[in-house]
Amino acid sequence: MTETEKKSGLSRRTVVKGLGATLGAAAFAKAIAPLTTWSAEQSVDEFLQKHYHELGPDEMNKVIARLEEEAKTDYGADVTISDPKPQAGVKFAYALNLSICIGCRRCAEACHKENNHDRATGNSYIRVLEMKKGSLDMEQGRVDYQGPVPKPDSFYMPVQCQQCDAPPCVDVCPVEATWKEKDGIVAVDYNWCIGCRYCEAACPYHARRFNWAKPQIPAEEVNPDQGYLSNRIRPQGVMEKCTFCLHRTREGKLPACLEACPTGSRVFGNILDPESEIRWVLENKRVFVLKEELGTKPSFYYFFDE
C-alpha cells in the first residue's frame, strides 16, 4: 500500500477528497445562484422583513412607505396603504340569496378591480358556479357558462373565501403566513408567504389563488385605496385570497362585491349585532353552509327564498 502511494504521489483518499470538494463547491454555487438576481427581484429590507405580528408601529410605517414607493416605481401609481385593525365587538359574516342571484358575474368583476388583480388573467376571488336545479353538488357546477342568464333550469352560486372559523388553510401553513383575525377574516402576510400552495390544496372551496406571475395593471386602473393585509399589489409567487375587502369593511364600508350586485342577493354585516341585516337573515331564512360535513365552520351562509 505504502509503495503504491509513493509511486503515484496521489492517494486514493486524496482523489476522493478532491472530487467531493469539487462536487460540494458546485452544489453550493448552484444553491446560491438565485442570489445573483437578488437586487432585481427584492430589496434587502424586504428579505429581512419580520412577520406581520412582530412588526412594531415604526417598522410597519417603514414597510408601508417602501411598498408605496415600489407601487410608484413598478406601476406608476400613487397608492395609500393602510393597516386597519379588527374592531372589538365585530365579527363579519356574509349571506347570499341563491333565489335571486342571476349569475351575471358583476361581483367577480368588482372583486377583480377592487383587489388589484392581474388584468391579463382576469383573476378574481369569486367563482360563480352555474348549478342545475335539484342538486347542491358544488363539483357539478360550471364556471364557464355562457349567456343569457339566468337560465330557467339553473341557479347560480358565487363561491369565495368562506372565512372559516376552523380554517384548514391556516392549519397547513408551514410558516404561519396565514391566520385568523379577531373579526373572523383569514389574512395572509404576502411578505412572509413562501408560496408552497399547501393552503390552496387544503381549501375545500377553491378560494385561494396563487400569483403565478407579477400582476400587470395599467397605472390608471390601480385601485389606490389599499390595505396591507388585503388588496395591495401582491408579489409574484405568493398566495392570496378574499379578505371580505377588509380595507373597506374595517372602515365600516360594504364589500365591493356586495355593492356591485344588481339584485341584492348579497348580505353582509356584523354577526354579533342582533340588529344587523345578517342576523335577520340567519334568524329568518333557512341558511346552510357549503360542505358542512368537513367541519370548517364557514362564516359565509347561503339561502333560498321559500
Partner: protein, 219 residues
C-alpha cells in the same frame, strides 16, 4: 382479582395521556372559534345606535307625456297626465296597451292580471292609488308594490333584497338603497335575462404567462 401497583400506575398514566390528547384535539378544533368570539371586552356595535341615514334612490317622479300639440300651434311638449285624462272617462276594464288608439300604444304590460286602474288613480292621474282607494304619490311606490309583494318588501326592509351601497356600519357613514323601479319596470316587472360579463380565463393561460415572465431577462 388483585391488581399490581405497577398496573395501577400504568392505567393512571394512560388515562391521563388520553385525557390530555382529547383536550388537545378539542383545543385545535374549537380554539379558533372561541378566540374569534371570546374577547368581548366591549359590547358589540349595534345598528340601532346608528346616526347616518339610509336614503332610497331612484324612486319615480310624477310622470309627464310628450304630446304633439301642433293643432294648438305649440309643437311637441311635455304635459302632465291630467292634461288629457281630465277630458276623458276612465276605462276600468283596460288591461293592455293593445286596444288604445292614442298614447301608450307601445307599452309592454306583463304584470299578472292587473288592469291600468289597479294602480293608476282615475280621480287624479298625477298620483297612484292603493288597494283601499287612497291616493299615493309616485315617489312612494314602494308602499304600493308592497301590497302584493309582501315577502319581497319584508326582505327589502331587512336588507336582503334590492342591494345597497355605502356603509354596513351606519355609525360611520350613510347607505344608499334602490327603489323597486330601479330594477323592475312597473309595467313588466320580471327581471330580464341578460348576458353575463367577465368570463373566467383558462388556467393554461395563467401557466403560459408565468412561463413568459420567467423567461423574461432580469432587469
Amino acid at each position: 382479582m388483585k391488581i399490581s401497583p405497577l398496573a395501577t400506575v400504568a392505567l393512571c398514566v394512560t388515562s391521563f395521556a388520553i385525557a390530555l390528547g382529547g383536550w388537545w384535539i378539542y383545543r385545535i378544533s374549537f380554539a379558533p372559534f372561541q378566540d374569534a368570539t371570546a374577547e368581548q371586552e366591549t359590547r358589540p356595535r349595534l345598528a340601532k345606535e346608528a346616526s347616518f341615514p339610509i336614503s332610497i334612490v331612484g324612486a319615480p317622479q310624477t310622470p309627464t307625456v310628450l304630446a304633439d300639440l301642433s293643432e294648438t300651434g305649440e309643437g311637441p311638449k311635455e304635459v302632465a297626465c291630467a292634461t288629457c285624462h281630465t277630458t276623458r272617462s276612465p276605462q276600468i276594464e283596460q288591461r293592455f296597451a293593445d286596444g288604445l288608439d292614442e298614447f301608450h300604444q307601445d307599452l309592454e304590460v306583463r304584470h299578472g292580471s292587473l288592469s291600468c286602474l289597479s294602480c293608476h288613480n282615475a280621480d287624479n292621474y298625477d298620483t297612484l292609488k292603493l288597494a283601499d282607494g287612497s291616493p299615493i304619490d309616485f315617489e312612494n311606490t314602494m308602499q304600493l308594490c308592497a301590497q302584493c309583494h309582501g315577502p319581497q318588501h319584508r326582505d327589502y326592509q331587512n336588507g336582503s333584497h334590492g342591494g345597497m351601497t355605502g356603509y354596513w356600519d351606519l355609525s360611520r357613514g350613510p347607505r344608499s338603497r334602490n327603489a323597486c323601479t330601479v330594477c323592475h319596470d312597473a309595467h313588466s316587472p320580471a327581471y330580464p335575462q341578460f348576458m353575463p360579463i367577465f368570463p373566467p380565463k383558462d388556467i393554461e393561460l395563467l401557466k403560459e404567462l408565468a412561463k413568459a415572465s420567467r423567461s423574461q431577462p432580469q432587469h
